[in-house]
């Protein structure tokens, strides 16, 4: 299993930021997700977040909602998420699961952490789990030896940043703007300030997500962050493609563009 620590050490040695790509499990199909993520890794993604499709994704914009809905209609289950992680981890990327808390809570925190670790998963990102409620998950993840990534936002005061960062291992996820997921014309100007503030509370790498969709934006963010996270832009390529094969080629091309961006 490739760990987040290995990824960021390698990126630092190469004097660049890491590239993190997101895709929900089961989208565009169960095997299609593994194929797309593998293409993303081959084209330069260092980390893959596999989204666990959830019925009420209240932090996601229309693009991810659409993909997740299709995945659920396809009948994606947690066992499929684990199989996807296994397939993607085989490509050599550090593989995370991004999930809302309820599916993990229902599955059982210890069981989820254990199963994710056995599938070769490196950790999780939990966008609606706050430090106050994170204790069971931190304990289960530590026991299973996987990383826990939480989010800070431009609205977070320093004491919250400090508290969130103290729950993180692997990296800290800085949300670039106040809003939901989705590619935007420009990355929020608040992102750089947030990364700066977060640095004073942690020595962990800091990755920026929300709103990044092309190579230019990736380069812009890479100038101040340790990692650049891209999700909706990949999904958009797959949604707009007439078939999976074309979608895969589009995804590969975008990953190449982003990979060049983080190396600029």
């Amino acid at each position: 299993m490739t760990t987040l620590q290995t990824v960021f050490e390698k990126a630092r040695a190469e004097n660049r930021s890491a590239l993190v790509g997101y895709l929900p499990a089961g989208f565009p199909s169960k095997d299609g997700a593994v194929a797309a993520a593998t293409a993303m890794v081959e084209a330069g993604c260092d980390v893959i977040e596999i989204g666990l499709p959830y019925s009420d994704p209240l932090m996601d914009g229309p693009t991810i909602q659409d993909a997740v809905h299709r995945s659920l209609v396809n009948g994606t289950r947690i066992s499929d998420v684990m199989r996807t992680v296994e397939g993607v981890a085989a490509s050599g990327a550090a593989t995370l699961v991004m999930t809302y808390w309820n599916p993990v809570d229902r599955y059982g925190a210890e069981r989820f952490a254990r199963d994710l670790a056995s599938a070769g998963g490196a950790g999780t990102i939990t966008p609606d789990l706050t430090p106050e409620e994170s204790e069971p998950w931190l304990a289960a993840s530590k026991e299973a030896g996987i990383d826990t990534v939480f989010l800070v936002a431009p609205s977070s005061p320093d004491e919250r940043i400090s508290r969130v960062a103290s729950c993180c291992t692997g990296f800290v996820y800085a949300a670039s703007l106040m809003g939901v997921t989705g590619a935007r014309e420009s990355v929020g100007s608040a992102a750089e300030g947030l990364v700066k503030r977060t640095r004073s509370h942690t020595s962990l790498p800091i990755c920026v997500g929300l709103g990044v969709g092309n190579g230019r934006q990736a380069a812009e963010v890479a100038a101040y962050a340790d990692g650049v996270i891209v999700g909706s832009a990949f999904i958009r390529r797959l949604l707009d493609a007439p078939d999976e094969k074309t979608g895969l080629a589009e995804v590969r091309e975008l990953a190449q563009e982003l990979a060049r961006g983080v190396r600029r």
């Binding site: 209240l58 309820n102 599916p103 966008p127 609606d128 409620e133 936002a153 609205s155 977070s156 106040m178």
Partner: protein
């Protein structure tokens, strides 16, 4: 709250103040207030994006100040009296009660408030809070449209911009309320994702809030959601039970044997239950929407058939499958069509202080029609669930019993459904 504030307001309040700080927040002496993390036992809390934590902290801090601020309470009280039409009366319904084994049946007439449902209480309180927060825009979710109408009303009254999220299915079921909201100057956004009902409207409102939080207050409509909403909404709805308790004592010389209320998210039920929590001899009965029946899965029996999970920022009972995916609820009543429930109800259920039951669409519609024919009152279909429950309860408790029912809203909005159902 200090005792001196409590006593001072009690004294000055005797001259006609409707609510006191004690009435608003339960006197600050109750052991059941949520703790610092917003927990009722294991329920409640905050499961939301970190981006919203500062806004929730801000709302909580402002409310803590407001609830002991006599100016705030006087302003709220003034609006309840002169705008909402409080206190609402209690109506005894003997002809209806004949069908309930002769038990004495008293209705708390929230249907007589301005806008026609109990929702106005919470909305006026939170609109005042919005002004204190210095925000100029309110957003809200709505199921039946009652909370949306109430929010649009308060926004018009106080000059706030207002956007209402409503499931597309509900927009169709409650077209009249959509027109009312528009007339009141609100923007109504039909939500077309997921089940296109209340839960999806809440998701969409949260998305708006996280995007526009700097100038927007999420005027949450029920006692669910992340802390501090369950506490704030309860406190603003609490006046229902405070009044009713006094009125029943005055009218009958004693407390009721049971209090009955419909439960969707749970705000009208908490509103009438809360003032009775310490009266251990008073039974508290909540009635959830049984829809087409518990057997076929088309229902909104969150407390009676659901399991513990997290939905919309709160740990509570949820309708979910074995992998934590929310199961879509069903009810003939849009206002009860919700797969979650307020965390305080979850806590009241587990502690045994309140008991929750299901009432089917058919039973509710029978009670709806019965109240209209026997008493000349057309209730909301939501409230008809409580009426149907009270009919059963009366037969169980016998003719000596007195039952207080929260008639949470009126049925004008439901005439389309009634026309179809009864072939009128």
């Amino acid at each position: 709250m200090t005792d001196s504030v409590h006593r001072q307001e009690r004294t000055t309040g005797a001259g006609g103040v409707l609510i006191t700080p004690a009435d608003l927040a339960g006197g600050g002496v109750r052991g059941d207030d949520p703790d610092i993390r917003g927990k009722f036992g294991v329920f409640g809390g905050r499961y939301v994006p970190e981006a919203l934590i500062p806004a929730l902290d801000e709302v909580a801090a402002e409310y803590e100040k407001a609830k002991t601020d006599l100016d705030f309470i006087r302003e709220f009280d003034h609006l309840l009296r002169t705008y909402a039409g409080r206190p609402t009366t209690i109506t005894e319904v003997p002809r209806f009660a004949e069908q309930a084994g002769g038990a004495r049946m008293l209705l708390k007439r929230e249907d007589l408030t301005h806008t026609g449902a109990h929702k106005i209480n919470n909305v006026l309180g939170q609109a005042l809070l919005t002004k204190r927060l210095g925000k100029t825009r309110v957003i809200a979710e709505t199921g039946a449209g009652q909370h949306g109408v109430a929010t649009a009303t308060a926004a018009a009254l106080m000059g706030l911009e207002c956007v209402i999220y409503m499931g597309a299915v509900d927009c169709e079921r409650q077209a009249l309320n959509v027109a009312r909201m528009k007339l009141l100057g609100a923007t109504v956004v039909p939500v077309t994702n997921g089940s296109q009902t209340l839960k999806d409207a809440i998701n969409e409102a949260f998305r708006d809030w996280v995007t526009n939080v700097d100038r927007t207050h999420y005027l949450f409509g029920t006692v669910a959601g992340p802390h501090p909403f369950p506490e704030i909404v309860r406190d603003f709805a609490r006046v229902i039970g405070v009044e009713a308790r006094r009125q029943v004592l005055e009218l009958t010389g004693r407390l009721p044997d049971a209090v009955a209320a419909a439960v969707g998210g749970g705000s009208n039920a908490i509103g009438i239950f809360h003032a009775f929590l310490d009266d251990e001899d008073v039974q508290l009965h909540g009635y959830e929407a049984g829809g087409r029946g518990a057997e076929n899965g088309e229902h909104a029996l969150t407390l009676t058939k659901g399991s513990i999970g997290v939905l919309h920022g709160s740990r509570t009972y949820v309708l979910q499958d074995e992998e934590g995916q929310t199961i879509e609820s069903h009810s003939i009543s849009a206002g009860l069509d919700y797969p979650g429930v307020g965390p305080e109800h979850a806590w009241l259920k587990d502690s045994g202080r309140a008991v929750y039951h299901g009432v089917t669409d058919a039973e509710a519609m029978e009670a709806f029609s019965l109240l209209a024919r026997t008493e000349g009152i057309i209730p909301a279909i939501e409230s008809s669930h409580a009426l149907a429950g009270a009919l059963k309860l009366g037969r169980e408790l016998g003719p000596e019993a007195t039952i207080l029912v929260n008639l949470s809203g009126r049925g004008d909005k439901d005439m389309g459904t009634a026309m179809k159902y009864f072939n009128l």
